[in-house]
Symmetry: C2
Subunit: 161 residues, 2 copies
């Protein structure tokens, strides 16, 4: 089975697939509230208005997965972006691909990094590590089929670190 | 100075002003990802599309405020909802009012509770307690004046607990 290397999650490497949600990724930084707070502004755009859609906020409580793990399928949300932000500094693995036929890439999110998949990005469902963790999820509500699934031509393997 | 009592933050009490973001507030609960995760679905709606608007994700790093604290002003965002979700179980105080002329109410958010102000809700800027904390903020980007400020007819005082 083809081994999928696990890369560090950086904005540059992840840019074709979405945004990394961390303070350093802001499009602007400025003080607010009489200087008692700093706003790291516009880290990710919410793109959930297709059709009658709207953005909504949910919480996902994820059990940890064990490595090694076989990646056999991907999914995408054709009608909206989807963000995951851990509500504690949990580690998780993000697997994305340009298409189900292309070789996927795997990134290790750590230290509280969140991610926002661009609308239509092929990705694997959440792969939490280490312990159960809560993630804030920002994605689309509204009518229309917003989840396509694809089985990969052959599986890929994530190895234990 | 009128003393403003600090109430516990509950969904029922906060409902006229916005949503409490916590798992128990979900409009639906269901397993996802082959049962390895539980989705607490649709806790809060993002209402940021007025005009050419869109939702965006930012991070605010807030210094703690000291009590007692005088509430002398409120603000509102007429074009969009605004959510704050602590990225650690930080405590903070949420002050809201039906109008600048009405008596405000103060709520203590604790244990990781987030809040989503409905579009147009009068509220005080973020009042973190105890220690500096990061908050995920979900509000509106786009043209148009989206912040009104009002000085209160007389100040209210938040007392040390």
């Amino acid at each position: 089975m083809t081994i999928l290397p696990i890369e560090p999650l950086t904005r540059a490497a992840f840019a074709p697939f979405g945004d990394v949600i961390e303070a350093a990724a802001a499009r602007g930084d400025y003080p607010i509230n009489d200087g008692t707070a700093q706003r790291h502004h516009d880290i990710a755009r919410i793109d959930c208005n297709a059709g009658d859609g709207h953005g909504l906020i949910s919480i996902v409580h994820a059990q940890p997965r064990e490595l090694p793990f076989a990646i056999v399928m991907l999914e995408r949300h054709p009608l909206g972006s989807q963000a995951f932000v851990p509500l504690s500094p949990a580690r998780y693995i993000v697997v994305v691909a340009e298409s189900p036929e292309a070789a996927p890439r795997a990134f290790l999110a750590s230290g509280g990094q969140g991610i926002n998949y661009h609308r239509g990005t092929w990705h694997h469902p959440l792969l939490a590590l280490d312990a159960a963790a809560d993630f804030l999820v920002i994605d689309r509500g509204g009518d229309g089929g917003n989840c396509d699934e694809a089985t990969l031509p052959h599986p890929y393997r994530l190895l234990r670190e």
